[in-house]
């Protein structure tokens, strides 16, 4: 579960998911390029909205302009987030199609 690479079988990042695809959040990675402080606050703010390991997530709409941002559904909350943030969220696919 703590594996942060998205290449493992059955794993992907939230940014890669298409409309209607569902998954379970495996982990939230911290890309080294970003400053740790910023990343910590991102993780904290994701957590505030219920985006944390183990939560079920469904990818929904994408912006008409370049597909960024996207909307997702976590539990009963619909959340809009930008691709850069979505790509830090590692997903275990539930219905791979």
């Amino acid at each position: 579960m703590s594996d942060t690479t998205a290449n493992r079988e059955g794993q992907t990042t939230l940014a890669e998911m298409r409309y209607g695809e569902k998954g379970r959040i495996a982990s939230i990675s911290s890309p080294a390029a970003e400053s740790p402080e910023n990343n910590e606050s991102l993780a904290a703010r994701l957590l505030e909205l219920g985006i944390m390991e183990g939560a079920e997530i469904e990818a929904l709409h994408r912006s008409p302009f370049g597909g960024d941002p996207m909307s997702v559904k976590v539990e009963r909350t619909i959340i809009a987030l930008r691709r850069a943030d979505a790509s830090t969220i590692i997903i275990e696919r539930l219905n791979g199609n």
Binding site: E34, S35, N38, S41, L42, A44, R45, L46, L47, E48, L49, G50, M52, E53, L60, H61, R62, S63, P64, F65, G66, D68, P69, S71, E75, R76, T77, I78, I79, A80, L81, R82, A84, D85
Partner: protein, 622 residues
Amino acid sequence: MNSALRLALVGNPNAGKSALFNALTGSRQKTGNYPGTTVERRAGRFQTQHGLEVNVVDLPGTYSLSATSPDQVVTREVVLGQSDSEPLPDVILCVVDATNLKLHLRLVLELKQLGRPMLIALNMIDLATRDKIDIDVEALESALGIPVIPTVAVRRSGVKELSVELSNHLNDLVEEAAKTGPAPAWQPQDLKSLQKEAGRIAKAATRSEGIEHLMTRRLDAVFLHKVAGPIILFAMLFVMFQAVFAWAETPMEWIDMGIGALADWLTASLPDNALRSLLVDGVIAGVGSVVVFLPQILILFAFILALEASGYMARGAFLMDRIMASVGLNGRAFIPLLSSFACAIPGIMATRTIDNPRDRLTTIMIAPLMTCSARIPVYTLLIAAFIPNQAVGGIFNLQGVVLFALYLAGIVSALIVAGVLKRTVTKGASQSLLMELPKYQLPNLRDLVLGLYERVKIFMARAGKFILTTMIVLWVLASYPAAPADAALPDIYYSYAGQIGRVLEILFAPIGFTWEIAISLVPGMAAREVFVGALGTVYALSGSEDQIATSLVSRLQNAWSLPTALAVMAWYVYAPQCLATLAVAKRETNSWGWMFFMAGYLTAIAYLAAGITYWTATAIIG
């Protein structure tokens, strides 16, 4: 005061705290179907059935006590008793959205750790019932160890039980509240484990998970659709601007006729003296020329209020986010900027929901570029006087198109300025867009009407006090000293106002402004619509006797050239003609420097834009 119980409304954003506050206290705080409607604390009071006086405070919504944006910090400070302006509340009334129990219960658990007296309002029970969600209130109560009261904040019957139960519980809690010590100790909680516990409790207390609100899914499929989404957004904005013009026409004519009749009647029934001039040229010409615009402002607000209540606002933010991101703006800047179309003051206040200070500063700096409702009188007056009322491209009205272009000029300029600021003075990592998209709701007609009524009150109060006073002062300055006996020009030319205007003219003549415009800009600093009132007074006084009955529109047509009129419109897209906005910018940035920066850069652009417009138009028209 000290005998009254202090109750604080705390909860996640959009849980219905302000709606509940309004229901309890009978006040009319702003509610809206998007997170971040309330950004500062608001106080009110009510009496329980047991005669207990309760002071209630409505707080900004917060996801967690660890949150860092300025609005959520307010909530944390009040709840922890660290606020300078608000004593520690005796009882916390935590408002929870019954349709999103798990997420909202986490804050309940976080608050519970404080060990303060607490009650829960399980709000939006109507929506939970609609979605067939069945919550076992007693199970929830015993799992949490906190009394839970189901409520529907937007229905009068929906808070009856709350007021009865609140009455009972508060009576019990008074003693407890009196006993508990001062500020509670608090340490940031492990949100993950709280979230898990909240999930367990929510699951155990939920008899039926219910069904998804399909309407929200279906509407999103349309409103966020790749093709339909942007088309609907722009169509909606365009209809709004056309409506501001088309629908308001008739009521504006009525008001105009009423004012004209009043002026005629006063002119006929009073002797020709200074008092008559003060009433007719000062008060009626000045205040009247602003009051005429009430229908337009109401139509604009009706649209904005309906959008806010429906849940579409956050979708607009979603659709526009790419453009915002491209100039380095925070996604959360959208709602403050959209609010600025009503007025930059609440818009600047709403930037408190942005937690990155540099992103917040950028947003504050560009908020005045959004065309606020006070510019409508200025634009409408000039458009009515100088832009022909004709169709273009078959369906559009040229006047509406020009108005739309003026709005667009403000928006585009704001984006450019934001881009420049982000590359220079407010450089730094930009926060992301992380925003809840609320479920759609049909706007409540009663709320809409009450919201509009509030606007009428504010508008009329401004016209009554503020504009009236300014107009009287202006009338005095424009009427004295009297003109010499052999005066060739209108009396006002020789007055104090005329003298000031001619000094200012030196500055403004290069961009095509007459001294009458220059003098009207000075009271127009107080608020933009005052400029229209001032023009009304100035031109009423410079008109000859037989012109009394002619409207301001035809007076301007005679007095100004088209390039001048266009230059004034361009000026008003940018000029920081509003002291209240500057004051709020000072307060919210906590810096005189940033306020002067804002005033300075806006004035510079205004001058340039007016000049370029004037010179170009003169060159083309000849």
